[in-house]
Subunit: 342 residues, 2 copies
């Protein structure tokens, strides 16, 4: 049994040497515990935030302890009345081959065994994040215009597809021409812009204006940085900005073109919120598990019917998790990033 530990707090972008693969021995199970053999676990941008010692919505990962992640696996030992050996479950397993979980923090999966991966992405936390943020804070109306970045990621692709179904004009932003083609052809976005083609926020804004001639009503925020800077002045009166992430700023502005951020000042943000009467709502999906069954009821049938599509980027081998995570933060992934144990 093995796990990946955090060995050093990165300055800016993480390096492989910030992590280590170490052997792990499962402790004896306490009453209510289960031991899970992982099938796969999820890599997500929020994990970068957990690597810092700064105040956040969760405690940071301690040095020399297991990196956190949601994972899916099979119960191989149980001291719980609620789970039997052989059950498939989702829980906060971390980056590891095995995990001991408490029964109250585990969800039994009723996904077909060949679709276990979906519990990490389209029907897991990222899909739920997109659905919740759009419906609760985005409050979409047919005919409006929505912009979402990381358009082919598991959050962005859910937001864009749901918004299209609700009758909105949907513009994606992504980090390569290939991703943009996927957003348009696979996920049905009206248009997708490769932000790496633009040197400044202003140039990106000029391009956006061509595809959003009526301004932007909903900006689903998961990246911040120069993309926020480009979009903010385009927000319509009574626009909504659900904020669930800021990948550009997780690495303290070291990723891609953030020099231009200097012109996005605190007063400019605040003034736009007032003048355009914006509603800006930060949210963390783990506050909202009480809505999860509503999400599954609404979205699982759409996924099964292929009316909502998804893309997974699967890498095999626990030892490859750090490299894959670093690549994901640089935008090298293609869809929901998953580490498969074997």
């Amino acid at each position: 049994m093995q796990e990946i530990q955090l060995k050093a707090r990165p300055e800016g972008a993480p390096k492989e040497s910030d992590f280590a693969l170490v052997d792990w021995i499962a402790p004896e199970l306490a009453s209510g515990d289960i031991l899970v053999e992982l099938d796969c676990f999820s890599l997500d941008p929020y994990m970068r935030g957990r690597m810092d010692d700064a105040k956040s919505y969760s405690a940071p990962v301690a040095l020399n302890s297991r990196m956190e992640a949601g994972g899916v696996g099979r119960v191989i030992q149980s001291a719980s009345d609620r789970f039997e050996v052989g059950d498939y479950v989702f829980g906060l397993t971390g980056w590891a081959s095995h995990a001991v979980l408490q029964e109250k923090s585990v969800r039994k999966l009723d996904i077909a065994p060949e679709h276990l991966n979906r519990a990490l992405g389209v029907l897991g936390m990222p899909g739920f994040t997109g659905w919740f943020g759009l419906t609760q804070h985005g409050r979409p109306n047919a005919g409006e215009t929505l912009v979402v970045a990381a358009a082919t990621g598991p959050v962005g692709s859910m937001v864009g597809q749901l918004a299209k179904r609700a009758g909105l004009r949907v513009i994606g932003i992504a980090g390569s021409d290939q991703k943009c083609q996927v957003a348009e052809n696979e996920f049905g976005f009206d248009h997708c812009i490769n932000h790496r083609s633009f040197e400044t926020a202003k140039a990106l804004r000029t391009e956006l204006a061509q595809y959003a001639p009526d301004g932007i009503d909903i900006y689903f925020e998961n990246v911040a940085g120069p993309i926020l800077e480009a979009i903010l002045p385009m927000m319509n009166v009574h626009g909504r900005i659900p904020v669930c992430g800021m990948i550009s700023w997780y690495n303290a502005g070291r990723l891609g073109g953030d020099a231009s951020i200097e012109t996005l000042s605190a007063p400019k943000i605040w003034r736009t919120i007032l003048v355009n009467r914006l509603s800006v709502n930060g949210f963390i999906i783990s506050d909202h598990w009480d809505h999860f069954s509503n999400f599954l009821t609404e979205v699982a049938p759409l996924v099964n019917n292929e009316q909502i599509k998804f893309i997974e980027d699967v890498t095999t081998g626990l030892e490859n998790a750090p490299k894959t995570f670093i690549g994901m933060l640089e935008g090298k992934n293609h869809g929901k990033t998953v580490i498969k144990l074997r």
Copy 2:
């Protein structure tokens, strides 16, 4: 008949030479128009924003035209079926002795004639702003902590008094020890802090922490600047920030101690919104007149019973409006600022 015109767009704080008192001749009334002889008009911080040429929620005041204001007066000539000579009305009269108003933009007042001033303050736009922002966007719960600046102003004093009635701990911020005494003794705030006693946002925050040991749940934003900087890190998870003004930033950071604002960056604002799951809502009260009768129904009896108090700072003479307005932006007023015509 006279009016005050805007003669120059101020850089930073306005000067008296930016205004001029000029004679005015009423045009012939079109159908539906009324001619009003003013009793008094209102001076409010938002007017500073209208003096700039920047994009805002309303068009700026044109050079060489009348400064805008809400005013109260008596109809002296009517081409409207809805108003008779002798009616008392509220409308956007501007800074003037007389105004021609269209019937559809005028509200007939059912306030006792000796209380006409109240239609500009406690029972007018500022009181309505405080009530609407607190109830719709602040969503107060008993036991929570609220902070509001400009605590003795007509918005802040309404917010604080309503929050006290709802069972909140209420902390005011004001610009003098005398105003703080008024906030505590007259308006019943639990505590009021004179922000001019502190050189930095951090020092103000340390003081605030003594009176808000459980953090801040609602920050009713009408000032921004270093006060926002002090408060933002103190916001509790799921805190609310209704944003109805930013007087510190209207003069482009030239008022009082704004050097410290440099440390409040765009990423810091955005990160706090996410990590603390804040709900930040800009609003402009003129979007919400459909709630005005609810406001009057709820609040007018409380004012009549003196359960909600108010303070007015009345200056007589149209010619004194520019000087009074400049002083108000500097915090020299004491309560709702009103210009009485004679």
